[in-house]
Symmetry: C2
Subunit: 223 residues, 2 copies
């Protein structure tokens, strides 16, 4: 399928978004339309439009004058994101438990099994990816379009956070089985239970990340 709508804008958008979430553009950095257009060989119009989109999506913010700045990551933002995630994933888990089909349950189980495989092989980047798949699939299976959009927004920030923080393997050790517990509750069609499991999982994950605030300073995280 060929992209026919705003092909250039979409290309710069994807390019810049990738650089931002992978921290090649660091939080706080100022992005200049003219520089970007020269650097990447697009005219200023699509670059400008891409930056506006990225700002509206929360990856950039307005700086003094007319500039765009890569949005800083603060401990407060991380905390807010985890709280918000918990709220929507709890809802999703309950909904899914009450409506999920057998083949959909199989999809979930395939993903956790993949997580387990990646964990066993110590492929922690792959593990992170399948962890993301797990949570996205949960939202997707809820069928709630609004949650889906919100989750997409959050995932971009989540990826930046992921790069900025350390991944304690000890936490993954705890975290891995938690995902199995969630799937089990879904399989039992236990809405309340699934909700509770998701709540626990994300409460722990949140506490783990925030605890890193004490263990020294992290380059790129403010407060």
């Amino acid at each position: 399928m060929v992209e026919t709508k705003d092909p250039k804008t979409n290309e710069v958008y994807a390019l810049l978004k990738d650089k931002i979430v992978s921290l090649q553009y660091m939080p706080g950095q100022i992005l200049i339309v003219q520089h970007l257009s020269e650097k990447y060989g697009f005219s200023r119009t699509p670059v400008r439009e891409a930056l506006v989109r990225l700002r509206d999506e929360g990856l950039l913010e307005d700086a003094d004058g007319r500039k765009f700045r890569v949005k800083p990551i603060t401990w407060k933002l991380i905390s807010d994101i985890y709280d918000a995630r918990k709220a929507i994933e709890m809802l999703a888990a309950q909904t899914v438990a009450e409506t999920v089909s057998v083949s959909q349950l199989q999809e979930m189980r395939t993903i956790v099994d993949e997580m387990q495989k990646n964990y066993d092989n110590h492929n922690f980047n792959q593990y992170f990816q399948s962890d993301l798949n797990f949570h996205n699939k949960l939202i997707e299976l809820s069928g709630n379009e609004v949650l889906k959009n919100w989750m997409d927004r959050i995932n971009d920030q989540q990826q930046r956070i992921r790069y900025l923080t350390t991944n304690l393997h000890s936490r993954i050790e705890q975290s891995m089985p938690e995902h199995y517990h969630i799937v089990e509750k879904l399989e039992q069609r236990d809405g309340k239970g699934a909700m509770e499991m998701v709540s626990q999982h994300l409460t722990l994950a949140r506490a783990d990340i925030l605890s890193q605030r004490e263990n020294g300073s992290f380059f790129g995280i403010q407060d």
Copy 2:
């Protein structure tokens, strides 16, 4: 404070957004950049950028070819929105109950009193506005920036829904005291209770709106 960043784009954006949420542009309608730019006297560039923003915010969607369409309102969307709202407002209520200051409680009470006044005077448009204020304030007091952004998005759709559906005064009669109950739980710093009250309130509001689906067809709502 003068708007210095993208003044034209912001102006068209605000203009078009107002027309969309007030249903002067109906769900399903196709918006043509060239027409709008001639009609309102802007060049195509700011109009185009405004449309892209509105699409990213969910008030427009991509149509065949390169067109923009005012996003249809479906019963499914209404249902999704209420579910999503419930999830984030429950979280907000709990947070607020646990952290709220005396002066903030006063702010909440001022708003419900205003609601009551509007209700007593049968100013139902004003009532709707203060109802909106109530829920926005709850989110605002939670201090969660992510929830705040999400709520802003939802409110635009909510306003369109409001215009498309009937407001049963009988429901307002029930609804009014529910807001007082929420404030009371906040005043008692009862997080769990506040959450429960919000849940009940929104569950009922959701059911009320969706029940209208049976009572005949509503122009502009699909499914």
